[in-house]
Amino acid sequence: MSPDYFGYIYGAYFIASLIFCGVSLKVILSHYKLRKKLTQLEYENSKG
């Protein structure tokens, strides 16, 4: 691998992973947050 291109190649992989992992993490975290909120609301509803 030519050292001249290291920055471009690693930069591309780093930014792509950052964006994809960021979006995935956002979706996974909001899943747990929403599930917790829904469970709490349904519990409160069942108690009247």
Binding site: S2, A12, Y13, A16, F20, K26, V27, L38, N45
Partner: protein
């Protein structure tokens, strides 16, 4: 006859409760398949394949740039089909599917633009050029941002879904334009290298890791898309409960 039978069974299958039950099993399976494909593709990219005779080691950028570009187009097609489902069949899951896909479409088109720029600088000597392929890809990215803006700006999700469905069906003309832009315009971007209906210019040692990577990212996207759809269904349920509570008071 078979087509309409299949379509009807698909429509019957895709109700929110059945979808939730189906996705509980489908999500982990597609996530594991996706991760395995990506790991296998990355092993080949970093340890097996040689440098390209013209582009040298920068060919490694292709294995993220091209799958991201394909996915950004396929996600748009998914949104367009969902838009059709929203407007024609008024399917309860259609606008949920469209909303869930938008964030991923924006992410894939952003990855395409950024990695393309990082590939373009050493190969073309320029980060950016206002030619047909690059500009149309930028418009696709802006279109995704537009969808997101509508979802955030309009409180009623049904109305927002309808507005976005119309926007998606109008914007579908952009997809063939992006695909054909390298054929009919004088562009800095290279021509089509992989053609399922004709000659593929890419050699097998580059083509197979590319296809593995695409399969992996697609599978992972399907898994995350199902999760985001479940999130949206939960969000709507939360809103419904909160409205019912407010009405009771």
């Amino acid at each position: 006859m078979y087509f309409f039978g299949g379509l009807m069974s698909f429509l019957n299958f895709a109700n929110p409760n059945r979808f939730t039950r189906f996705s509980r099993y489908a999500m982990p399976i597609t996530a594991v398949i996706g991760l395995l494909c990506i790991v296998w593709a990355m092993y080949q990219v970093w340890f097996i394949i040689p440098d390209d005779y013209q582009q040298g080691s920068t060919i490694k950028i292709m294995f993220i740039h091209v799958p991201a570009a394909w996915l950004s187009l396929w996600v748009y097609m998914l949104i367009a089909v969902s838009a059709f489902g929203t407007l024609v069949w008024k399917h309860p899951l259609a606008d949920v599917s469209a909303k869930a896909a938008v964030l991923f479409g924006a992410a894939f088109s952003a990855i395409t633009l950024i990695t393309g720029s990082l590939w373009g600088k050493p190969m073309w000597g320029a980060w950016w050029d206002w030619d047909a392929r690059l500009t149309s890809m930028l418009i696709l990215f802006l279109l995704y941002l537009g969808f997101m803006a509508v979802w955030h700006a309009v409180d009623d999700p049904i109305l927002a879904g309808k507005i976005n469905a119309i926007l998606a069906l109008v914007g579908i003309a952009l997809i063939p334009f992006i695909i054909l832009s390298v054929e009919y315009f004088n562009t800095i971007h290279q021509g089509k290298s992989v053609n399922p209906f004709g000659e593929t210019k890419l050699s097998d040692q580059f083509l197979y890791p590319l296809l593995w990577m695409t399969a992996g990212v697609t599978s992972l996207f399907l898994s995350l898309h199902m999760l985001e759809m479940r999130n949206e269904l939960m969000l709507r349920r939360i809103r419904r409960i909160q409205i019912l509570r407010t009405n009771k008071r």
